[in-house]
Symmetry: C2
Subunit: 435 residues, 2 copies
């Protein structure tokens, strides 16, 4: 077999372990000297590569740097949210494949989520059409854990560990005063509640906080929420509530879009008289934008009005996906292995596949088998939390979920430190380059 080069890219939102997968691709590539020549990295994914930007990873990174890369969050190569054209006759494809040929590429790896798998799918189909020998392999990554045909996705375990540990600390923080209070924590997840579910692990004792957990897989009702909060406030001083950003009511309206009318309806208050257009104006600012608010703020306002207790809302925000310090060692190891397996599958002849995890068991039986699944079946699908894992009352997750997530958050990572701060590896240019 002639020696061919690798090209690898990162795409979509950052995670704590996307660089561990990159590290896996590089390390496996370096170890297969008889088949692999250079290991190129696309800067800013396919989008940057189309503009001619890439680097020689194998040559530029030392073994020590690779070790640091493995525990560095975000995306070392930079990322993109670029969708390849649907039309296979688009000149984008011929340009891309010409560049591949120029660089003597034999193996293409793309680390990403749903949209990135769509890229792998399209490239492999175009490749088949023109009889290209290049093999295209997807390496999964998403904190949302919403890819199908895999037990879970790299990135999720670290985000889940961040959520569980941080919610536990916020529960401690919220509980210091003797006055009644409600704390609402808004977690990432527009369509799926995998990450929000992880807040259940913050509980240390039975009946510990968070008292209420709402996932977008279940319809959210402000009335039922009011009943839940009322019951919890009667039984404890401090009520902590965890919600997915994407919770929506039975009409499909996101709670984060709720304004005066929706809240007043549930509070039994009358809004001001006026036309609908006038009322709508309150929700929009002069420049025509909806208020920049999340469901946490909406629920904060609702609870304050309804119960008159101290309320605070906290949005955990991007730290959920970019905390390297709280990354799960299990997740880091699996992400690196996913990168290595991707190279292995490509060299074994696989094409148009995604690396997939299959779980052997839970608890002490936990372990993974790796396999390759058809990337065309994965892309543009969405895996939701099974409704049977959510409590009947719709405000909690059950033991099945706990057993599912617990093995994924195990183990702490040692991040190199300098001057008291994590010393991550990044391209200096990522900040200074201006194009």
């Amino acid at each position: 077999m002639p020696v061919k080069n690798i090209i690898v890219g990162q795409s979509g939102g950052p995670t704590a372990v996307i660089n561990a997968s990159l590290c896996g691709v590089i390390r496996e590539g370096l170890s297969r000297k008889e088949e692999i020549g250079k290991i190129y990295g696309m800067i800013h994914g396919v989008e940057g590569f189309l503009e001619g930007r890439y680097m020689d990873l194998g040559a530029e990174l030392s073994a020590e740097q690779l070790e640091t890369l493995r525990v560095t969050p975000a995306a070392y190569l930079g990322s993109c949210r670029y969708k390849l054209p649907e039309d296979p006759d688009s000149e984008v494809y011929s340009r891309l494949f010409a560049k591949f040929e120029e660089l003597n590429i034999g193996y293409f790896f793309y680390i990403g989520g749903n949209d990135s798998m769509d890229t792998v799918s399209k490239l492999s189909r175009y490749g088949a059409r023109i009889d290209s020998p290049i093999r295209f392999v997807g390496i999964p990554k998403t904190i949302d854990n919403d890819l199908i045909l895999t037990d879970h996705t790299p990135g999720f375990g670290s985000a889940a560990r961040y959520v569980a540990a941080t919610v536990r600390e916020i529960v401690l923080d919220s509980s210091v005063y003797q006055q009644k209070s409600v704390t609402i924590i808004e977690l990432m997840g527009r369509h799926t509640g995998w990450l929000t579910g992880a807040s259940v692990l913050a509980r240390k004792y039975e009946k510990d906080n968070p008292a209420l957990i709402y996932l977008p897989e279940r319809t959210f009702s402000l009335k039922e929420f009011a009943g839940d909060v009322k019951r919890e406030l009667a039984r404890r001083r401090c009520v902590v509530v965890c919600v997915s950003e994407g919770i929506a009511d039975e009409s499909g309206t996101f709670i984060c879009e709720y304004g005066d009318r929706e809240l007043a309806a549930c509070l039994g208050k009358k809004t001001e008289t006026g036309t609908d257009a006038e009322k709508e104006e309150i929700l929009l600012d002069t420049f025509g934008h909806k208020m920049l608010t999340g469901c946490g703020k909406v629920l904060e306002r609702f609870v304050r009005e309804r119960f008159g207790v101290k309320v605070r809302s906290v949005e955990l925000n991007v730290s959920q996906r970019c905390s390297g310090i709280l990354a799960s060692l299990t997740d880091i190891k699996e992400a690196e292995k996913a990168g290595r397996m991707g190279v292995d599958y490509a060299l074994s002849g696989e094409n148009g596949v995604m690396v997939s995890f299959s779980r052997r068991g839970n608890g002490s039986l936990y372990g993974l088998d790796y396999c390759a699944v058809d990337v065309n079946e994965v892309c543009n699908q969405e895996k939701k939390v099974p409704v049977s894992w959510i409590s009947d009352s719709g405000n909690d997750v059950g033991q099945e979920y706990v057993e599912y997530v617990l093995p994924l958050i195990q183990g702490a990572v040692t991040v190199p430190e300098k001057d008291g701060l994590p010393e991550y590896l990044y391209r200096k240019q990522i900040f200074l380059e201006n194009n």
Copy 2:
């Protein structure tokens, strides 16, 4: 000297090290068996103690639990925001001192910030008035670092380490795309910018992000901010801005209170015609509340309107003060020592004092001398970041600040873990007790 008992309480907002100071009081108390009998803890500070709630810390906590307590964030005993009456003839004082006598208290310790030092001041003055033999000592604590007559306060170093490390991770997260973007990080600090200043440590390279840092010690001008962002957007892809929640303009109006009028004035747009009252309505919701928004959201909206680039705002929120995992070991050690020194001072006869830090030097010369300062001079004062430590342009902090803060964030803490999560020490009742 007859054996007397200790009573210790925690007050004000949580920090990562207030329990380390508690641990210091308990450990020093336990080691002075000839002078100290029991070590009582007030549940929910003076407020809960007045309701008869306290516990026997020396008897209830094992040596192993004390070690865990030392690294547990928030407030083990619970806290309060209770201000003692100004009137020394209030029955509150006679009730309190009767309870002290009942419990054979000889030494009173209060771990807290400004308001808590006010409590120590009032109690010591009342004690002098009635010739009480009880000695009252304050142990400083606040993430805001705004107490005078001390080099810094326990709690600040850990919060600063959290801010520096988290901002560094968010900078990485923000920089993955090649599109121009602005990320605004809102940090705690209503009146002082000590904590926001710590974001400077997130920089790894010269000219690294955060590009702009604004403290409340300097007047904030939206016009100058627009100029700063414009200049930074011209020189880099990704601009990260750190702001204190309490930034205000020259009229003293907080930026978080800005609505359409203020933004339109700077954007050169006209707001709708209408009376002032009608315009004001846009800022208020139907129930009469100001929108629940911080200055980060206001600036996010402004930048989007003004520059049309991708913008995100992130509020670091309570994790700044309650992250035990990212606590500074230096801070933990100093907080514990402050607790120990408090007991030492009380036993040496000091009364109406606060434990204070005096710094020997920076860098490798860093070290602390401990002393006792008059608590009456400390309370109700506020220490601000020296204006000379802020750059002339008002959008950065200088080397003096870096040298000041760097020693305070050194060292990582080992938090005991179970099932992949921090295993902190807390009273189960803190969640379930309902009074």
